[in-house]
């Protein structure tokens, strides 16, 4: 069996995605550890706690994320593994995989159980170990179920915690013998399904896709879903922005996202036996923030993808093209920002404690800075790297992480605005200067730009 699996490149395929996660450790974990060690060894005075605690947090956080990612990816990987053409042709592979499931889940169960038992210093391990086993197999089944749903795959990230909150307290109340019966039934159900299941060939697994594939998938499915029936107002905006060439649909997309994510959070809130309302509302707040902040991002992405087509149809030289696109993005973006902000203000009116006005002002301000940043970045990458979508994805990925960071930090920071007015002014002025420099640089590059095709 070992040789057969090695010949298939099994491990390579199985851990393809975990390699991506490993990079997280390389880029974040190792620097974090180095910072922590340096902070401890060298005397940095009052900065020492920041360096040590910050470094350890970074390192430990990235390792935890890595382990979590690998655990979450594992079942999804197996689905795509059995669904791919070359492996699907091989008989009996699912028996090996079933054995592998049992082994891996058992090992995880033992490890988790040890942590649990030693952690709470309990002598009888049977009861918690059965709960852990049931939770593992149940989570495993939930992940497999969602991965099979195609585009709804990502929902298991929301469902798993809800499942944990709901199920664990119920299981705690049951006796060990009942738990044992449930565990056997779950395994029997899972294995029964596994051996009778007919995998779909070329099953698309969004969770293990690389960023460019994911981008394409997003464009072809999510945009399609959100913008169903969306017709651009005219060819000009249609060619440049695609479906987003009609503001109404951008607002509709925002509302759909709001309702869907709101419902998921509400579901989690309802299933939760504890009071997670504050945490959930922070989640909702950040979710709304991301939506507002990234209003302009869709336009930058669309410009990056469509600008060469736009040139072909309209009477514009290179610099006129730059100015026209800049103007069009500004008009569409501001129209949408106003519409979306109005909706959020209405929501804020009903839940002022959870979504205060300061937060909305903060989101709009960040959005106003992020949008020109991503637009000029798109211009620069397009001109300098000939529309290299990989560079675009990386830069925007980093930008999105910064946005998230800004959301987390800024929400608290903005609460004490009067104390930090001078710093906020400095940040605003510095951001403006950066945007102006980027604009000048983009314009310079744009004078003789090659309008290449971009495959996103």
């Amino acid at each position: 069996m070992r040789n057969k699996l090695l010949r298939l490149g099994f491990l390579a395929k199985l851990f393809f995605f975990s390699l991506w996660a490993l990079r997280l450790i390389l880029f974040v974990g190792i620097p974090g550890a180095v910072i922590a060690i340096a902070g401890k060894i060298v005397d940095y005075g009052s900065w020492e706690p920041f360096l040590v605690v910050g470094g350890i947090t970074l390192a430990a956080g990235s390792v935890c994320i890595y382990v979590g990612v690998v655990l979450l990816m594992f079942p999804a990987q197996l689905i795509s593994f059995i669904s791919s053409r070359q492996y699907g042709l091989l008989p009996y592979i699912r028996h090996y995989l079933a054995v592998l499931f049992v082994c891996i889940l058992s090992i995880l169960q033992v490890v988790a159980c040890c942590i649990l038992v030693f952690g709470i210093k309990r002598e009888h391990a049977m009861h918690p170990s059965l709960i852990v086993a049931i939770m593992l197999i149940a989570s495993f089944m939930v992940i497999l179920f969602f991965v099979r749903l195609g585009s709804m795959q990502f929902f298991y990230f929301f469902v798993l915690p809800a499942l944990g909150w709901y199920l664990v307290p119920q299981l705690k109340l049951m006796s060990s013998s009942v738990l044992a019966v449930i565990l056997v039934c779950l395994w029997a159900t899972f294995l029964g399904w596994w051996f009778s299941w007919h995998p779909k060939k070329y099953h698309k697994n969004l969770i293990v896709m690389n960023p460019s594939e994911l981008n394409k998938q997003n464009l072809s499915f999510c945009w399609g879903l959100y913008s169903r029936g969306a017709v651009p107002q005219n060819l000009e905006s249609g060619i440049l922005f695609g479906q987003f060439g009609n503001s109404f649909y951008q607002v509709r997309m925002f509302l759909i996202t709001l309702v869907v994510t709101g419902s998921v959070f509400a579901l989690m809130f309802m299933l939760s036996p504890h009071d997670f309302s504050t945490g959930l509302m922070i989640g909702v707040k950040i979710g709304i923030g991301i939506q507002v902040i990234q209003v302009g991002y869709n336009y930058s992405l669309a410009v990056f993808k469509n600008i060469n087509k736009y040139w072909l149809y309209f009477s514009l030289e290179r610099m006129q093209l730059f100015n026209a696109v800049e103007r069009k993005v500004a008009v569409f973006y501001l129209k949408n920002l106003i519409a979306i902000t109005s909706i959020i203000l209405v929501i804020s009116f009903f839940i002022p404690n959870y979504l205060p006005l300061e937060n909305i002002v903060f989101y709009v301000l960040v959005s106003l800075f992020i949008t020109p940043f991503t637009l000029y970045m798109a211009f620069i990458i397009y001109a300098k790297w000939r529309g290299n979508s990989k560079v675009f994805n990386w830069i925007n990925g980093i930008a999105m992480m910064l946005i998230l960071g800004a959301c987390f930090l800024g929400l608290n920071f903005f609460g004490h605005i009067s104390d930090y007015l001078i710093y906020i002014l400095i940040i605003i002025l510095a951001s403006l200067a950066v945007i102006l420099v980027m604009r000048q640089y983009a314009k310079r590059l744009w004078q003789q730009v090659d309008l290449v095709r971009v495959a996103i």
Binding site: S220, G224, L235, G238, Q243, L312, Y313, E317, L451, V452
Partner: protein, 293 residues
């Protein structure tokens, strides 16, 4: 009267330090149907993109109706139909909506032509563009490129994804479009039989160089493969003009010439005291000879 639509003057195009197009000078006049031939990576798409002004020439100039390709105005652009290699349609709207958008925007829209093709090619109007097959997307791209009856039609491997029936219908339409003496068509393809059917001019690109440009008939009449048989060993290579390719083995050689004349035959016979056999080639063989295949 023939008008020059495209004028290419000493065009060079360099990408990331690689010379993709090398010193091309050519013209396209109204009435020309130019087949652009070349291996994968020969520079066909780069040449087309430069002709359309998407890319700046590294050196030289391309003009369309006398205006620099990178600075053409809307009036000229409205006179161009372009079918790119990969579909560049608006993906998530229906085919009908897409056609309507273009119709509102384009002058000279020929609705009869559109209806005819929608029926013949069975393009589903209510289907979302993203859900069409690659071949159907290609059909829609072609339809949108020809519906406004442009004076210059540029097609980058238009039939690559079409089924044989659709290909035949498309070629028939292209022949009809080509019958307009005011129109010029440039199309790149790997299907040589299509070239023989509709093109009157051929551009053969080899490693960025225009190895041949001229009339298709002249090309077929002038390119010849000569088999030379002598009584004594022949030189390692022949130092003669217009040789495309030569293979010498002892007393025998096979040499392909781009501009073959009977006088050249007499010269070879006399110089090497050899017998020669002349074979005029099909376009496909010419293409293979020119690409050393």
């Amino acid at each position: 009267m023939e008008n020059t639509i495209i004028n290419i003057n000493n065009l060079q195009r360099q990408i990331d330090g690689n010379k993709i197009i090398k010193n091309i000078t050519a013209q396209v006049k109204s009435g020309d149907v130019v087949a652009l031939l070349g291996k994968n990576g020969a520079g066909k798409t780069t040449l087309i993109e430069t002709l359309l002004g998407f890319s700046y020439p590294t050196h030289g100039e391309v003009t369309l109706w006398g205006k620099s390709a990178t600075k053409i105005d809307a009036e000229i652009k409205a006179n161009i139909g372009f079918v790119p290699q990969q579909s560049e349609l608006i993906n998530h709207i229906s085919v009908g909506d897409q056609i309507q958008l273009f119709q509102r925007f384009r002058q000279n829209w020929n609705q009869q032509l559109v209806d005819k093709f929608i029926e013949e090619w069975q393009i589903p109007l209510k289907q979302t563009v993203a859900k069409l097959s690659v071949g159907q997307q290609q059909k829609l791209s072609i339809l949108l490129a020809i519906a406004h009856q442009p004076q210059l039609l540029i097609l980058d491997e238009p039939v690559a994804s079409l089924d044989p029936i659709a290909r035949r219908q498309f070629l028939q339409q292209l022949i009809e479009l080509a019958s307009d003496a005011e129109r010029a068509i440039i199309f790149s393809t790997h299907i040589i039989s299509d070239v023989e059917r509709i093109a009157n001019k051929v551009w053969m690109l080899r490693d960025g160089i225009l190895a041949y440009q001229g009339d298709l008939d002249e090309l077929k009449e002038s390119v010849a493969r000569i088999t030379i048989r002598a009584n004594k060993p022949l030189p390692g290579s022949f130092n003669l003009p217009n040789i495309i390719r030569q293979r010498v083995q002892g007393n025998q050689a096979v040499v392909a010439f781009s501009q073959w004349t009977n006088e050249m035959g007499s010269q070879i016979e006399n110089a090497y005291q050899a017998e020669i056999q002349v074979e005029y080639l099909s376009l496909e063989d010419i293409f293979l000879e020119m690409n050393n295949a």
